[in-house]
C-alpha cells in the first residue's frame, strides 16, 4: 500500500517537473516568435537543468541549503494534492483546495528563508516583494475559491471538476466568467510574469531571490518554477476549465500558460505596491461581482 503511494507520488512529481519544463520550453519558443526570433529548441529547459546540476555551487550556510530544499519540497508537496486530470496521488483525499492554498505558500516561505540566509540585499528585497505580491494575488484567488466552494458545497477540487462534466458550457469559466477573469489575473501574479514580475526584475534588483543561487541551488529554483507552472496552471484548469482527460488537462494548462505569456510579452512591470493595489482592486472587484451575482 505504502509502496503504491510512493510510486504514485513519484509519478505526480516527475510529471509536474517534466511537463513544467516542457511548458517552459514551448513558452520560450512562443515568446521568441512574438519578438520576431526563434529561440532554442523546445527541450532547452531540460538541458539547462542538467547543466545547472552539473555545476559547482556555493552555499553560504546550512539555512540556505535547507531553505532552497524546502522551497522545492513545498511545491512538490502541493502537486501531490492536485488532481492531474483523472489521476490523483491519494484517491481518497481528492485535492482539498484549502490544503493546496496553504501548501503553496510554503514554497515561497522556504525560498524566503533560503535566500535571506545568502545575505545579499537584492535577494532580500526580491523575496520581500514576492511575499507582498503573494498577499496581493491571494485575495482574488481566495475569493474565487470561496465562490466555487459555495457553488459546489465542497472544498475538494475533485468535486469541482466533477460538477463541470458534460458539455464545455458547463465549465466554470462560462458559468462564472468574472471570477475566471479575476483568477486569470491572479495566475499572472502567481507565475511572476510581467506586469507582476517585480520580484525578479533583473534591471532593478538583479533577478531578486535568485541572485546568490548558483549551480544546484539555481537548478532547484528552476525545477521549482517548472513545478509551479504546472501546479498553478493546473489549479486554474481544474477550477475553471473542467479538468478533463490527461491530455486535455495538459493542453488546457499549456493554453493557460501561453495566455499568460502573451500578456507578459506586451506589458512592462508594475512597481510592486502598485501591483498589490491593482490586485486588490480590479481582480478582487471582478470576483466580488461574481460572488454578488451568484448570491443574488
Amino acid at each position: 500500500m505504502v509502496k503504491t503511494y510512493i510510486f504514485r507520488f513519484l509519478i505526480a512529481v516527475l510529471t509536474s517537473i517534466f511537463m513544467g519544463l516542457l511548458y517552459m520550453g514551448i513558452g520560450r519558443k512562443f515568446m521568441a516568435r512574438i519578438r520576431r526570433c526563434y529561440a532554442g529548441p523546445f527541450y532547452q529547459s531540460y538541458i539547462d537543468v542538467i547543466k545547472l546540476f552539473s555545476k559547482n555551487s556555493i552555499s553560504h550556510n546550512w539555512i540556505m541549503d535547507f531553505g532552497v530544499m524546502m522551497g522545492f519540497a513545498g511545491i512538490i508537496a502541493t502537486v501531490v494534492f492536485l488532481p492531474i486530470g483523472p489521476f490523483n496521488v491519494f484517491p481518497d483525499m481528492k485535492g482539498n483546495i484549502i490544503i493546496i492554498m496553504y501548501f503553496m505558500t510554503i514554497g515561497y516561505l522556504g525560498m524566503a528563508m533560503g535566500v535571506a540566509a545568502s545575505g545579499n540585499p537584492n535577494a532580500t528585497i526580491g523575496i520581500a516583494r514576492a511575499l507582498s505580491l503573494m498577499i496581493g494575488y491571494e485575495i482574488p484567488f481566495a475569493l474565487s475559491v470561496i465562490l466555487l466552494i459555495f457553488a459546489n458545497r465542497s472544498s475538494l477540487l475533485y468535486d469541482m471538476v466533477l460538477s463541470q462534466h458534460g458539455s464545455f458550457l458547463n465549465w466554470n469559466m462560462f458559468r462564472y466568467p468574472f471570477a475566471f477573469a479575476g483568477s486569470l489575473i491572479a495566475l499572472q501574479g502567481m507565475l511572476g510574469e510581467q506586469p507582476f514580475d517585480a520580484m525578479i526584475a533583473p534591471a532593478e534588483i538583479a533577478s531578486g531571490p535568485m541572485v546568490e543561487l548558483s549551480g544546484k541551488f539555481l537548478g532547484f529554483g528552476f525545477l521549482q518554477h517548472a513545478s509551479q507552472i504546472f501546479l498553478e496552471t493546473g489549479i486554474i484548469a481544474a477550477m475553471f476549465l473542467g479538468g478533463g482527460t490527461i491530455l486535455g488537462f495538459f493542453t488546457k494548462q499549456l493554453i493557460l500558460y501561453l495566455i499568460t505569456l502573451s500578456i507578459a510579452a506586451v506589458f512592462s512591470r508594475y512597481r510592486f505596491e502598485d501591483a498589490v493595489k491593482f490586485f486588490w482592486i480590479i481582480p478582487t472587484l471582478l470576483v466580488l461581482l461574481q460572488l454578488v451575482i451568484f448570491l443574488a
Binding site: 526570433c37 529561440a39 538541458i47 539547462d48 552539473s54 552555499s59 538583479a206
Partner: protein, 181 residues
C-alpha cells in the same frame, strides 16, 4: 548530502556527457566591460538570436558560465572582473573580444588600459575584430562549444593550478604602493 559538489563525479565518461549539456546551455554574464558590448544586443536579439544556441544573458555572476571581456579593460575594471570571475562557479569560461585584451590594441600606450589579459585571467578564446561583428561572436561561441565538447577549454583549471602566478600579476597592477616611473 545531495548538495555536495560534483567532485565525486570523477568518472571521465560521465564528465563527457555533462560537457555535452554544458556546451548546449552556455549562460553568459550580462556585464559590459568595454565597447565591444555594443554588438552584444544585436547578437542577443532578433536578428542574430543567440538563444538558438541555448545561450542567454544572466543577471549575476553566480548564475553565469561565461564571462565576456568585451574589449579593453581598464585597471579599475580589471579589479571588478577578477571579483566577478572568482564569484562564478566552475566550470566557467572566459572569452576575450577584439585585439585590446591581446596586446592593448589601439590603446597600447594608454596608462589606464591593461595590455594583455592572459596575464591576469585565463582566456579560453579570443575573437578577432574591432569590434567583433555578431557573426564573429557567434562563430567564437560555436568554437568554444566545440572546445568544451573536446574537453580542451580548461581555463578555470589552469587558474586554480597557477593561482599564485595569476595573483602575483594581479597584485602588481592593482595593489601597487610605489610610483611606476
Amino acid at each position: 548530502m545531495i548538495l555536495s559538489s560534483t567532485k565525486e563525479l570523477k568518472d571521465k565518461g560521465f564528465e563527457q556527457i555533462l560537457d555535452f549539456f554544458r556546451k548546449k546551455s552556455l549562460w553568459m554574464l550580462h556585464y559590459c566591460t568595454g565597447c565591444g558590448a555594443v554588438e552584444l544586443p544585436p547578437t542577443m536579439t532578433s536578428r542574430w538570436d543567440m538563444e538558438r544556441f541555448g545561450m542567454g544573458p544572466m543577471a549575476t555572476p553566480r548564475q553565469a558560465d561565461l564571462l565576456l571581456i568585451t574589449g579593453y579593460l581598464s585597471v579599475k575594471s580589471l579589479k571588478r572582473v577578477i571579483y566577478t570571475y572568482e564569484q562564478m562557479q566552475e566550470p566557467k569560461w572566459v572569452i576575450a573580444f577584439g585585439s585590446c585584451p591581446i596586446n592593448g590594441g589601439i590603446y597600447y600606450d594608454s596608462y589606464s588600459v591593461i595590455n594583455r589579459l592572459a596575464l591576469y585571467l585565463p582566456v579560453d578564446l579570443s575573437i578577432e575584430g574591432c569590434m567583433p561583428r555578431p557573426e564573429a561572436i557567434i562563430d567564437g561561441f560555436t568554437k568554444l562549444m566545440k572546445a568544451i565538447e573536446k574537453g580542451e577549454a580548461v581555463g578555470y583549471k589552469k587558474y586554480k593550478e597557477n593561482y599564485e602566478w595569476y595573483k602575483k600579476n594581479q597584485r602588481e597592477v592593482l595593489e601597487r604602493t610605489t610610483p611606476v616611473l
